[in-house]
């Protein structure tokens, strides 16, 4: 169990740390964000993907970290 937790922690850190290094990014002003604020650029799943995310949750073993459901409902059929 300890070994598994260690593996999970190392995996999480190895992905998180490089992202924290992004603090050196260019500062973008509000008036320069016409493209960043476009609806298609929104950093989340689309509303039209709502039910697709449910069937991924039920038909696949992996779940989470994609803005979909993480529990509540059996999906057993």
């Amino acid at each position: 169990m300890k070994k598994r937790i260690r593996t999970l922690s190392v995996t999480a850190l190895s992905i998180t740390l490089p992202i924290l290094g992004l603090s050196a990014c260019v500062s973008v002003k509000e008036y320069q964000k016409s493209r960043i604020n476009d609806a298609d650029m929104e950093l989340s799943a689309r509303k039209s993907e709502k039910f697709e995310q449910n069937f991924y949750l039920y038909r696949e073993g992996a779940a989470g970290a994609n803005g979909g459901k993480s529990g509540g409902g059996c999906g057993c059929n």
Binding site: A12, K29, R46, E60, A63, G71, G72
Partner: protein, 395 residues
């Protein structure tokens, strides 16, 4: 005279204050989203019949979410979101839980799951705090959920950190296949007075997200969302057939620790194309690892129409308790023949068409946009599915 002038000024000021207070408190409908979806699947490895048999299923889903917005006296923005979802499905495999009972567990069933979310955003502190409650009910399953979230943005709104925590408290009605029911154990069907067991399944999750605007065209998001489940994690009517021909129901450990890590990268290419990419790595303590990649490229055909082809690929390894029909030894501690947690590759391909004309769709001013989305899903286990979704947004 001066007193009269003072009085009228005070009245004017009070009236102004009253007007301002009224305006800041007014609750307005921000948007309404209606989602309708049809999903159907077929395959020949149903867990209900031990990893063999039809997986045919169709599902009609409807969703309405209403978002209300208001500003309080401290100029904080309150958002209230009501979300109601209803699925109605028919499932051939569920019909085989108990072929002798017409009203068995769920040949067809309706799944209803409403939720309510309240968020408070403060521009001064650049923070958002929120809480949501959810409920879910279907024939043999009930769930109550609560979620908390906190978001803090950087001074230039180019970086955002988000924390969330959630819990779901679920209850199973333990419906067993008829040949495996102990003496006096009920079927779970309406009108059957023999008792059945109820078992809990609880899920706890935490989430950490960090988003960053890299430049005028590129932004990224990292999400780490560990989850822990405990209780009855096996499905009580999933049959199991051992090597020696004996039969039981699947048995899985009473807890599961999951760690999904997701990464999104969205890039605006030129003036008309957006590249939306998503990658997720997943690992859990049942021995499953998975990699999922999703690429979508919305192409803006005009100022109000866009088409979005997408492709999703997923690879997962089997949990260590999985084996096909008749492959488990009766001496195994845990066993399942559920292909949803077997090793496979899956692909989902399709496209969406979105219309958002300036005067509203079909000239209806409040009908802001319409989106139609179709996808075809294939799994290397032989399962095939199709999904069609219509999203209508009103403002």
């Amino acid at each position: 005279m001066s007193v009269g002038l003072l009085l009228s000024l005070w009245r004017a000021g009070y009236a102004q204050q009253e007007k301002t207070s009224y305006e800041t408190r007014k609750l307005k409908v921000k948007e309404v989203n209606l989602v309708s979806s049809y999903y159907q699947q077929d395959g020949n490895k149903s867990a209900v019949t031990g990893g063999i048999g039809t997986e045919k299923l169709s599902d009609y889903a409807q969703s309405i979410d209403l978002v209300l917005k208001a500003t309080d006296q401290r100029h904080r923005q309150h958002t209230l979101a009501f979300d109601l979802n209803i699925d109605h499905y028919t499932s051939a495999s569920s019909d085989r839980i108990d072929p002798l009972t017409v009203s068995s567990a769920s040949r067809s069933d309706t799944h209803i799951y409403p939720s309510i979310t309240w968020n408070i955003h403060d521009d001064v502190t650049r923070t958002t705090r929120g809480i949501s409650f959810s409920y879910s009910t279907e024939y043999d399953y009930k769930s109550y959920g609560v979620n908390l979230n906190f978001v803090k943005a950087s001074a230039g709104n180019n970086r955002e950190i988000s924390l969330k925590a959630g819990a779901f408290f679920d209850t199973w009605s333990v419906i067993l296949p008829p040949e495996l029911r102990p003496e006096g154990y009920g079927s779970g069907a309406e009108g059957d007075r023999d008792p059945i067991a109820y078992k809990p399944r609880n899920s706890y999750s935490a989430g950490l997200s960090l988003s960053q605007v890299i430049n005028k065209r590129l932004q990224v998001l990292l999400t780490v969302e560990p989850a822990f489940q405990q209780g009855l994690l096996s499905t009580p009517f999933h049959r199991m057939y051992f090597k020696d021909g004996s039969e039981t129901v699947e048995r899985l450990p009473g807890s599961r620790l999951k760690l999904p890590i997701g990464f999104r990268l969205h890039y605006f290419l030129g003036d008309h194309v957006v590249l939306r990419t998503f990658y997720r790595y997943y690992i859990d303590d049942w021995g499953m690892q998975a990699h999922t990649i999703n690429v979508e490229t919305p192409v803006k055909l005009s100022s109000f129409a866009s088409i979005s082809p997408f492709y999703r690929y997923s690879h997962q390894t089997a949990v260590r308790y999985f084996a096909a029909y008749g492959q488990h030894a009766p001496t195994d501690r845990y066993y399942t023949s559920d292909y949803d947690i077997s090793g496979f590759n899956s692909q989902f391909v399709g496209a969406g068409l979105r219309l958002a004309p300036p005067g509203g769709v079909l000239g209806v001013g409040h009908w802001q946009s319409a989106e139609l989305r179709y996808g075809h899903y294939v799994r290397t286990t032989g399962m095939v599915a199709n999904s069609l979704t219509l999203l209508v947004k009103l403002k």
